[in-house]
């Protein structure tokens, strides 16, 4: 629900001026969690935001708790040296705040206890005089359970207690809190705007908050929670016409097969994750969001058929209403009836061997070639006119075990892929020829550039903002079946990447991205489960820095992604050894390139775990692919050329 971002003359967004958010609260009340979440959100909206943490600053300048004088954390009588020490830390921190504002920063979140009215008043007045809007953000908690959990999970792993005995650390920490409690004054002064959050969002009090950015901050804070859950991302299956936005084409046979594999893999993966937490997967609902594009919501279809299981007819009402629904969007009709139905898996759905006729795409005699078709590059024409064949897909020998699921699928119209505008359906070459100026600018800045009538990634982020708040709000496990551009934006928010990196995040079809929010960030890993036609249009290599492979997140105990990823991959690879890698129709040429990559990937011993498979073949493969497989390059261009833009361009046959 963000207004479009606009920068005023001063370089600040939303005419909001500069804002200092002063956190208030006893230790272990979740101040840092809230500060970091807010920082992530505001940065994603393009607001220059910085958390300045008094604790971090103190640790950096003075060292851990052991190096401090014993009266450092007691608020009572202190020796003059301790007073001086504290004063210097406070001043140093405030210096950082001023510096950030002076160098063009817009929002500072000052993460400190600020437990007395006096201290808050001094601070607020100082900044208010300089025209900076001050908001107090108090996090209070009278639920002992929450506090304890917080101490255990976060505080004793802090650098202050490095090398300490756990119980001793907890004891020490409690003492620190206790001393604070004596002097703590909750925010009751109404002369400053404030937000008070009780027990992690159970109750929120708001005073005199005005301004757009400020009200957005509140709406955001109302929606965040810290309950454990998992967010999965997967791309939609391959569609018949990958490179056209307007055609809104359906899944290709490979896309349908992908959808089945995705369902199996998610169900298995989720069962395991939930079991680790002691939860019965059949009791816990999975919410699936798809865009309103056909390739995306049809990719969710197997989940629904699995949940309602029409062939076994265990649930006649559902089975009857799902397929023949009178609405023209049968999926939606089915959703409403089968939303949370549970039933047993039926093996009859999974034949051992399956004949999928190769799609007789567009078998037009050459004479009927339309002018539009003539515009396509020759290989593409060739594909469009290719003859039908039959493709044999061997199913994995063992079907997944029976597994009842509860699922709800929701279609979100805001989640369509980035709109390529007038470039829709054009080849890169045509786009460059017809729109030379725009093409130059597109190459220079793929994040901010908007092709004529198209969306920029920036526009896309603005469009997705309501989705993001809903994402924060959602408490059940969530699977987002989407498009690469949409997944990139959402992922960059969750991981906290700068906006300019968004177009370069690699999101491969056949990878399941698993994101688990944690206190100070997220744990994310990349689970590879499928290799097949149409994996391209995305990464040739395993995603590396941004989207996966290694665990991302600042928190401790992040699990290595490799091990789990390999398991998923094994499923895909064992199957692929026997698979005839012929593509289905429009994306045919890419297939050989694919095979080479798969061979490379298989040569990597599974023990290598977290290391990314950065295979050398990718460059060549890209070349093959770009020539033959017209993917939506407006969506994928930056990704295709990530980190090796030159190579990528030469692959496109461009001389720039």
């Amino acid at each position: 629900m963000a207004a479009p971002l606009y920068t005023t003359d001063s370089g600040l967004l939303f005419h909001a001026g500069k804002i200092l958010v002063v956190t208030v609260g006893l230790p272990a009340r979740g101040k840092t969690h809230v500060s970091r979440a807010l920082e992530r959100y505001l940065r994603w909206m393009g607001v220059k935001t910085q958390v300045i943490s008094l604790g971090d600053y103190r640790r950096k300048t003075l060292g851990g708790a052991q190096q401090l004088p014993p009266d450092y954390f007691t608020l009572g009588e202190k020796t003059p040296e301790t007073m001086r020490l504290r004063e210097s830390v406070r001043e140093g921190c405030e210096g950082l705040i001023w510096k950030f504002f002076e160098t063009g920063g817009q929002v500072v979140i000052y993460d400190a206890n600020n437990g007395t009215r006096r201290a808050r008043k001094d601070l607020a007045e100082k900044f208010d005089k300089a025209g900076i809007h001050v908001i107090l953000l108090e996090s209070t908690c009278d639920n002992e359970e929450i506090v304890k959990a917080n101490i255990r999970s976060v505080k004793i792993s802090s650098p202050d207690y490095k090398g300490w005995d756990e119980e001793k650390a907890i004891e020490d920490y409690y003492r620190r809190i206790h001393d604070h409690e004596k002097y703590y004054e909750p925010v009751e002064e109404t002369d400053w705007p404030f937000i008070r959050i009780f027990n992690v969002g159970d109750r929120i009090e708001i005073n005199k908050i005005q301004g757009y950015l400020q009200s957005r901050i509140i709406f955001f804070l109302m929606n965040i929670h810290n309950k454990p859950r998992t967010i999965y991302f997967a791309r939609s299956g391959q569609s018949l016409i990958e490179h056209s936005y307007k055609a809104d084409s359906d899944l290709s046979p490979a896309g349908w097969e992908y959808a089945e594999r995705l369902k199996d893999f998610v169900i298995q993966r989720r069962k395991k994750t939930l079991e680790e937490r002691g939860i019965d997967a059949s009791e816990s609902r999975l919410v699936i969001w798809t865009s309103a594009r056909r390739r995306a919501h049809h990719t969710a279809w197997p989940f629904l058929t699995h949940a309602s299981n029409p062939p076994a007819n265990l649930n006649p009402t559902v089975a009857a209403s799902a397929p023949g629904s009178s609405t023209n969007s049968p999926l939606l009709g089915a959703l409403q009836t089968s939303a949370s139905s549970t039933s047993l898996y039926s093996p009859s759905l999974y034949p051992q061997k399956l004949q999928v006729p190769r799609v007789p795409h567009l078998m037009l005699p050459p004479s009927t070639l339309s002018p539009a078709l003539a515009l396509l590059p020759p290989q593409q024409q060739q594909q469009l006119l290719s003859a039908p064949q039959t493709q044999v897909i061997t199913q994995p020998p063992t079907p997944p075990p029976p597994q009842p699921i509860k699922v709800k699928v929701i279609e979100k119209p805001q989640m369509s892929e980035i709109n390529p505008g007038v470039w829709d359906g054009l080849s890169p070459d045509e786009a460059r020829r017809l729109y030379p100026e725009e093409w130059e600018r597109f190459l220079k800045d793929p994040y901010a550039f908007r092709a004529p009538r198209a969306e920029s990634y920036h526009d896309l982020c603005v469009r997705l903002e309501p989705i993001l708040v809903e994402l924060e709000r959602e408490q059940e496990d969530l699977l987002i079946i989407g498009h690469a551009s949409v997944i990139r934006c959402l992922l960059s928010y969750l991981i906290g990447l700068p906006a300019s990196e968004i177009p370069a995040i690699e999101v491969a079809r056949g990878d399941l991205l698993e994101v688990r929010p944690a206190s100070y960030g997220v744990h994310s890993q990349n689970l590879h489960f499928w290799d097949g036609p149409g994996r391209r249009g995305a990464a040739r290599t395993r995603p590396s820095s941004a989207a996966g492979g290694a665990t991302i997140g600042t928190g401790p105990g992040a699990a290595g992604a490799g091990g789990a990823g390999r398991k998923g991959e094994a499923l895909g690879l064992s199957k692929l050894r026997d698979l005839e890698l012929d593509d289905s129709g429009l994306t045919g040429e890419g297939a050989e390139g694919e095979a080479a990559v798969f061979e490379d990937a298989m040569d990597v011993p599974p023990e290598e775990g977290g290391a990314d498979v950065d295979n050398g073949a990718s460059g060549d493969a890209t070349e093959d692919d770009e020539a033959g497989n017209p993917n939506n390059y407006y969506e994928n261009y930056a990704e295709d050329t990530r980190g090796k833009r030159k190579a990528g361009m030469s692959a496109l046959g461009l001389s720039i």
Binding site: A2, A3, I218, K246, P253, A259, T305, I410, P413, R453
Partner: protein
């Protein structure tokens, strides 16, 4: 030469590429025919229907899980009905089923019935509202309970949000409501307290009450009415308890937005309601709508596109600043446009701050973009008829439906509520959606609202709706309005309400 001109120039030079999969190209039809064949042996048990043609109807999102009782709390003249009506309009626009159950309306209606049947006229002066009047207390309690029962029944019959518009001013009354709603599975109860101690706001609300023709005061002079109403408020004040019960979900709004307390509010819709209420204000202002001046595409009868203005459209752009300035005087105003050339060009001479919104771009006609209606009808006659059948829910292939546009405009509405004077230079479908929000028009009528070219619509929000003025400039333009075709002759377009600001005292509208 601007880059726009150059682009147009280069486009025409290189034989403007018709989008490859446009509805105007035979490729799309061929593709549909062949891909439909490929679907026949899909491994999915019940494959969703194949894609053909230029679009289809989209079913309404499933809101069946939302069952919310929103009970108002507050003294009389604190803007409870204002807030509940406003909220109703917003949520209905977002396609939730919302209904306000006003206990005052029920009381008046029943009293009127009783008066008609038996001739006995119940006394509804301040005495009736005294907490010492036991008989009246009992009557008022039972009215409130009946109203709540009606609300709950309505939710069971498919409603999403029922607003219980009453004072609910004591802890015990609220406890009764809580206990009643708790009996229903899956219902969620929120109290919304409108607290006000700003004498100016109260006084304005009291004036509105006694001057607006409230039947409670129809036989009294204004002074008498005012005195009686103030006594009524005093009777409530004597027993009023602000919401602080820790076991309740509540939103407490002080002086329309200056201070908000949000307690135990969970759920997405609930937090949206809170966010919406936080953004409301009651300062006087006006909202102006204008379409862009007549464009080249308008003249050619084409939809969509990103063409420039026609000479007449340019003339409109030249004349617009004088009209707006005459109207607004020195008051501050911000102009919002879409990112399309024709709106930016139309706004170019306005001497105000301008802001470009991607979300204000015209409805995306997908594969039909750049075609005339005749061309579409010729290429896809059946689909074309389908769209007329249910225009609101029809999504162009590769494009949008009116519903999609409503979803995309939601942030715009939120921002409009927060702002002062705004002039939107927009597009036909976009302005229809925004207009329907301000006038609470039903979905089925929304795609047929008349928003002519070269006309400025001025909306001034009032307590229970909007006042409207239209200024048509005498500059000719093509008519782009397509009435809903019908076998039984043309149906007249929906009546445009001249003013929807009147209060409904009996719940009959």
């Amino acid at each position: 030469m601007s880059s726009t001109e150059r682009r147009l120039d280069s486009q025409s030079a290189v034989a403007s590429p018709h989008p490859v999969f446009s509805a105007g190209s035979p490729l799309l039809k061929k593709f549909d025919e062949t891909s439909a064949a490929s679907r026949s042996r899909q491994e999915t048990a019940t494959p969703p229907r194949s894609v053909v043609g230029i679009g289809n109807k989209v079913a309404k999102p499933d809101y069946s899980e939302a069952k919310i009782v929103l009970a108002m709390v507050g003294l009389p003249a604190r803007g409870k009905s204002y807030l509940s009506n406003k909220l109703m309009r917003y949520l209905k626009w977002l396609e939730y089923e919302v209904k306000v159950f006003n206990v005052g309306q029920l009381r008046r209606t029943r009293a009127r019935q009783q008066a008609e049947q038996s001739g006995i006229k119940e006394d509804h002066s301040a005495k009736y509202f005294s907490h010492n009047n036991e008989e009246a207390n009992r009557l008022r309690d039972s009215l409130s309970e009946d109203s709540l029962d009606m609300l709950i029944q309505w939710l069971k019959d498919g409603g999403n949000v029922g607003i219980h518009d009453a004072t609910n001013s004591t802890v015990s009354r609220r406890e009764k409501i809580r206990a009643r709603v708790a009996k229903e599975k899956g219902f969620y109860l929120i109290f919304l307290e409108s607290f006000c101690d700003d004498p100016d706001i109260i006084s304005a609300n009291v004036d509105l009450k006694v001057n607006a023709g409230d039947p409670d005061y129809k036989d009294m002079s204004r002074d008498e009415a005012r005195r009686d109403f103030l006594r009524r408020i005093a009777e409530y004040e004597a027993v009023y308890q602000t919401v602080t019960e820790p076991n309740l979900s509540y939103l407490r709004i002080k002086n329309v937005g200056s201070q908000v307390t949000v307690c135990q509010i969970h759920g997405y819709l609930q937090s949206r309601v809170a966010y919406y209420l936080m953004n409301l204000h009651i300062k006087p202002r006006s909202i102006f709508f204008s379409r862009h001046g007549e464009s080249q595409f308008n003249v050619e009868g084409k939809i969509g596109g990103d063409s420039l203005l026609s000479p007449r459209g340019q003339q409109y752009a030249n004349t617009l600043p004088a009209l707006i300035t005459d109207n607004i005087g020195d008051a501050p105003l911000t102009v919002w446009t879409s990112t399309l050339q024709r709106t930016i060009q139309t706004a170019s001479q306005l001497p105000y701050n301008k802001l470009t919104w991607k979300s204000l771009d015209e409805l995306d006609a997908g594969v039909c973009d750049g075609m005339t209606y005749d061309e579409i009808e010729a290429a896809y006659p059946e689909d074309f008829a389908n769209r007329d059948d249910d225009k609101f829910n029809y999504r162009y292939r590769g494009g949008e439906s009116y519903r999609d546009v409503v979803v995309r405009l939601e942030p715009v509405i939120m921002e409009l509520e927060r702002q002062g004077n705004i002039l939107i230079i927009g597009h036909q479908a976009i302005l229809r959606c925004l207009y329907a929000y301000f006038h609470d028009l039903p979905q089925a009528d929304l795609p047929y609202i008349k928003i002519p070219l070269h006309t400025v619509i001025k909306l001034t929000p009032k307590a229970y709706g909007c006042d409207e003025e239209r200024f048509a400039l005498p500059i000719g333009a093509v008519d782009t309005h397509r009435p809903k075709p019908s076998i039984s002759g043309p149906i007249p377009p929906p009546q445009i309400p001249v003013s929807t600001t009147g209060r409904d005292y009996y719940g009959e509208k």
